[in-house]
């Protein structure tokens, strides 16, 4: 279970929300090139690390919000405010609730 920190509802199971993928800025359709538009539609950063992404609180307050998640450790933090470079840590309000010891799963067939 992944606890996703909704700004209104607090930490909720990811099953209560809808994942809307990487948060990337949409190019202006009036001025964009086909290549830029294609990259916006299909190309993904898909990093193993901090990823800025959009969630939709579909079973709760129905708010769309952006949050940063570490795709290896499943920690969350708030994306930095405009003009700032430092992300805001969220402390204990999100992340993965571990079932058993994750190291036991290594190398399973």
């Amino acid at each position: 279970m992944l606890l996703v920190p909704c700004p209104n509802c607090g930490p909720r199971n990811s099953a209560d929300l809808t994942y809307r993928g990487e948060a990337s800025a949409r190019p202006n359709p009036a001025t964009t090139t086909p290549k830029e538009w294609r990259d916006y539609l299909y190309s993904e950063d898909n990093p193993a690390g901090w990823l800025k992404e959009t969630w939709y609180c579909s079973s709760g307050c129905r708010r769309f919000f952006a949050v940063e998640r570490h795709t290896v450790t499943s920690e969350f933090r708030e994306p930095p405010l405009p003009g700032s470079k430092t992300p805001k840590p969220l402390g204990d309000v999100g992340g993965r609730a571990v079932v058993g010891d994750a190291s036991e799963l290594e190398g399973e067939q």
Binding site: E22, D39, E44, A48, E53, V72, R96, L105
Partner: protein, 431 residues
């Protein structure tokens, strides 16, 4: 298997002879130091990577090849999948491709002299809604046109094939029909990895385990660091030293985006974990593979008698392979709807593997905008079935420097031209 470093041939007589003499078996593949230069470097030591290396050597005579894996061979998706093979896909491109794969799997034990325990036990895809029945009929017709044994059968016949399924009309999602595909079945996934590794090694291919790729060196690209579109691959930096190579093949499944990023490319791929689980062993009662798209579950019984379950991928992108209770709960509920009789069985363990999902559920194969950098990725949840044919075709692509017809529909450039190959209806269970 005809190679230069030929080890002992495996046979019943050989087993008896060695058993009686108590002589040790030699190592199955060599442990060689990293060379300074290779003609081809394959990144990823799973079924796809090893098959590519094997066919490069066996079909095209290119033996100065290294296979690199950051852990042990078969440690990724190749050792974590549910070992199901089939060819009853939805698009003609998909059907042709997987049918070739199935043919290679069928003759693999003989071709590579290692028993991969292919069990051709049949494959049932259940339909619980009218729209699912319609899709099954569509798939059956596409399959028949390509000479694939595939037909739609009703609940009575389903009950005859798999008596443990609840085919009564009183369930929440009654089983209306099924797509029956007799050539489908299961195979021992580790044995497939070992068979390709042993055969590739016999041709002189170097297998480097615990060798992580840190960077791919390129020159002449459009990015400031010389990577990206128009670049040429010149070498690979690994945790065990640098290699100069002009051809790098990316066969890294869940990690495909990271490896492509090292060459300055962005792929249309997100990484999602796919969870699976296995029960304690019981007597054989489930003679076929059973899949239900509506209930998001597929199940088969292993030779040891365990039930192996799989489901849909986790709905968000992550590299975290931890198991979740959500998965177990949902899985148990759905399995019990299908087979109420297994309610007393206990789950032994659950695990996850990383899947590289593309927007159209078809792979990304062949050339990329970086010269010498090839991709065999985007295999999502169905890469194991396609291992042999992908290796064969990727080897052809690398050796001939031209895209083989069979993989032409899966080129990376299809996203540029809007020629997507929609396979979600037949490739995924979670939709």
């Amino acid at each position: 298997m005809i190679g230069t470093n030929r080890g002992p041939r495996y046979s019943g007589a050989g087993l008896l002879w060695r058993g009686l003499r108590k002589s040790n078996w030699p190592r199955v593949w060599r442990d060689t130091p990293l060379k300074k230069s290779y003609d081809v470097v394959v990144v990823g030591g799973g079924v796809h990577g090893l098959a590519t290396a094997y066919y490069l050597a066996a079909n095209h005579g290119i033996t100065n090849v290294a296979v690199l894996d950051k852990a042990y061979l078969g440690s990724g998706g190749s050792g974590r999948n549910t070992a199901i093979v089939r060819s009853n896909y939805l698009t003609p491109e998909g059907v042709a491709f997987y049918d070739r794969s199935l043919a290679l799997y069928k003759s693999m034990s003989a071709d590579l002299n290692l028993n991969v325990m292919f069990s051709e036990r049949g494959h049932l895809t259940l339909a619980h809604t009218d729209s699912a029945v319609r899709t099954m009929r569509w798939r059956a017709e596409v399959n028949k046109l390509q000479n694939i044994d595939s037909s739609v059968i009703g609940p009575d016949e389903i009950k005859k094939i798999a008596p443990s399924l609840d085919t009564s009309p009183h369930t929440r999602y009654p089983i209306l029909a099924a797509l029956y595909h007799p050539p489908g079945g299961t195979i021992r996934h580790d044995a497939v990895v070992w068979a390709y590794a042993r055969a590739a090694d016999a041709y002189g291919v170097d297998l480097h385990q615990k060798t992580e790729v840190i960077d791919i060196e390129c020159a002449g690209g459009s990015n400031p660091d010389g990577k990206g579109e128009g670049a040429k691959v010149t070498g690979v930096k690994t945790s065990k030293g640098d290699i100069s190579a002009r051809v790098v093949v990316n066969c890294t499944a869940g990690w495909a985006g990271l490896i492509a990023g090292m060459a300055g490319l962005k792929l249309p791929i997100t990484t999602h974990p796919l969870q699976a689980a296995v029960t304690e062993p019981v007597k054989v009662f489930l003679p076929t593979v059973v899949v239900s798209g509506s209930l998001h579950v597929y199940v088969s019984q292993t030779d040891r008698g365990e039930l192996v379950f799989g489901a849909s991928v986790d709905p968000f992108a992550t590299y975290d392979m931890g198991g979740t209770l959500d998965f177990t709960e949902e899985l148990a509920g759905h399995v019990l709807e299908l087979m109420p009789a297994v309610s007393k069985m206990r789950l032994l363990r659950q695990w996850a593997g990383l899947c590289d999902i593309t927007p159209d559920y078809s792979p990304v194969m062949g050339f990329t905008p970086v010269e010498g950098f090839f991709c065999d990725v985007g295999w999502g949840t169905y890469g194991f079935k396609a291992g042999p044919v992908s290796g064969e075709q990727m080897a052809k692509c690398v050796a001939d420097q031209a895209t083989p017809e069979l993989i032409a529909p899966f080129a990376l450039s299809r996203f540029e031209h809007g020629m997507l190959v929609g396979e979600k209806g037949a490739a995924a269970v979670g939709h």
